[in-house]
Symmetry: C2
Subunit: 343 residues, 2 copies
Amino acid sequence: MGSLLTVSLDAMGGDHGLPVTVPAAIASLAEHPNLALILVGDQDKIREELSKHNYPDSDRMQVQHASQIVEMDDKPAQAMRFKKDSSMRVAINLVKEGRASACVSAGNTGALMATARFVLKMLPGIDRPAICGLLPTIPGFCHMLDMGANVDSSADNLFEFAVMGSVLASAVNNIDKPSVALLNIGEEEIKGNEVIKEASRLLSDSQLNYVGYVEGDGVYQGKANVVVCDGFNGNIALKASEGVAKMISFKIKQAFTKNIFTKMVAVLTMPVLNSFRKTIDPRRYNGASLLGLQGIAIKSHGGADVLAFKTAINQALIEIENRVPERISEQLEALLVNQREDV
Amino acid sequence: MGSLLTVSLDAMGGDHGLPVTVPAAIASLAEHPNLALILVGDQDKIREELSKHNYPDSDRMQVQHASQIVEMDDKPAQAMRFKKDSSMRVAINLVKEGRASACVSAGNTGALMATARFVLKMLPGIDRPAICGLLPTIPGFCHMLDMGANVDSSADNLFEFAVMGSVLASAVNNIDKPSVALLNIGEEEIKGNEVIKEASRLLSDSQLNYVGYVEGDGVYQGKANVVVCDGFNGNIALKASEGVAKMISFKIKQAFTKNIFTKMVAVLTMPVLNSFRKTIDPRRYNGASLLGLQGIAIKSHGGADVLAFKTAINQALIEIENRVPERISEQLEALLVNQREDV
């Protein structure tokens, strides 16, 4: 049993809670023989949900009681102060105590970020954590950060995000020198505000594979493996992208249900449209990494279903196997040594 | 001839220039009997292009010579200083001189913005101009501003954008009290930075139909007629949206060309997919308004084709007919009077 990698799950978090987290946990254990899970939350309710699936406690499926739940509209400070026995907090505590190597939550993003930062602490040399997500692109996918941990960031913060994103891409996707771009409103050097220009100078002078500015459409053309931006812009871009994708699938559905002819065509087209949908299915990209912490914490989309939550658990496992926090520290150290040698 | 409404066109601007602007001009005149156009640029080349279409000069299709062209990568200040006889500048001058009631250009956005502001001047009470574009949404469309005229905006600027967008929506689309929202990273009151919070307070206290914050996905769900944001975020959202739409249409094409079966399905599906594409065709939404100026200036997408450029000319005509600049002044005045009465 020594080779098991343990992930703690905030079993109560998200829009759906146990009906999603428990089946996702069961499916994940079936897929990954080296995975163990600790389900954190109301132990009676968790066991009831497990018994619905005829699934007993085991070494690989432990239950850890927590009496409180962080609600989606709780303010981060309130959650930290008044919900010290929440499923979210206890799941993170398990990582701090070394009983789990990573935690996953579909709960309140702000509370998760604040709690993870407070409990796990920042990596030395990193000023602020960032939320790093995976986006589909024409050639494949890219990592984008920050997606909303910070509402405004300095040039130094953006530089740190670039380091963290670069490490994640190389560790998780075996990309040797991941290309890194800054999200901006134009690719020309003259555009953008002072913070972005300064960040661009820092990145140009670094050992990172910095490829310059990228606009929103360049992101989806796959112009970089890692796209760096402040949390406000990252979140705006992410949500606008989600909105367009939803609108397009609504309009496609509308076009196919217009009349009897289009409905007949729809039946024939279904397999093709399904194969297309799979390539941009957000559930296959679920599980954003909270980077910059002394530990691994994964944020699942609040509305995640079983498949999506399973993807987030998988992301946690990949980051454990690839020692992501340790590698961020090492890379940061190496970059700083290089910079000192350059001087 | 007294009832003709005249629009000046920067005939040389954009990625394609005359092969797009001239056919679009001819088609626009055929569609709108009350429209007259002044084509501005190299007169020999314009007449050559017109003769290809067997189209003579007339009262409704005049040619105005301009010896220079603003390139897409010219810096705004350089264009202003060294290209005083550019097709863009002369087209704007014609509005200032009263020979045209609006101008349209597919040229360099920064140069167009700077030149229009310098020549036409701001409306009294408006601090900064904004670029207002039309976006498709699930129920129809919405106006979004600023899309990139300013890289950072104060709360007062955002308030002015809201007034201008609201006037445009009510004047152009006959919406009585257009709903106005602020683009933010969350709908909860606690989120967002200080500028947005302050703008939200200003809008809540105003006579505008302010409906609160909206996220990127809410924009496409049609939660507001007018979405207000600073130019950086607006541009990020716009470009990300374009990127996703392009990626999705690429992936759809890919799915339909996979093998002989999918290709056969594609033939059947074509009419349905085409009717879907029409509803989100960016060419049908081309023509962003430069608002806040003492005159009407329309920015066409640089890559516009004939249909798209014709849409931009149409937008100019609609704004003339609806006296958009005058109505912005009136509405601003009315809002300020109401505020004074409230005190």
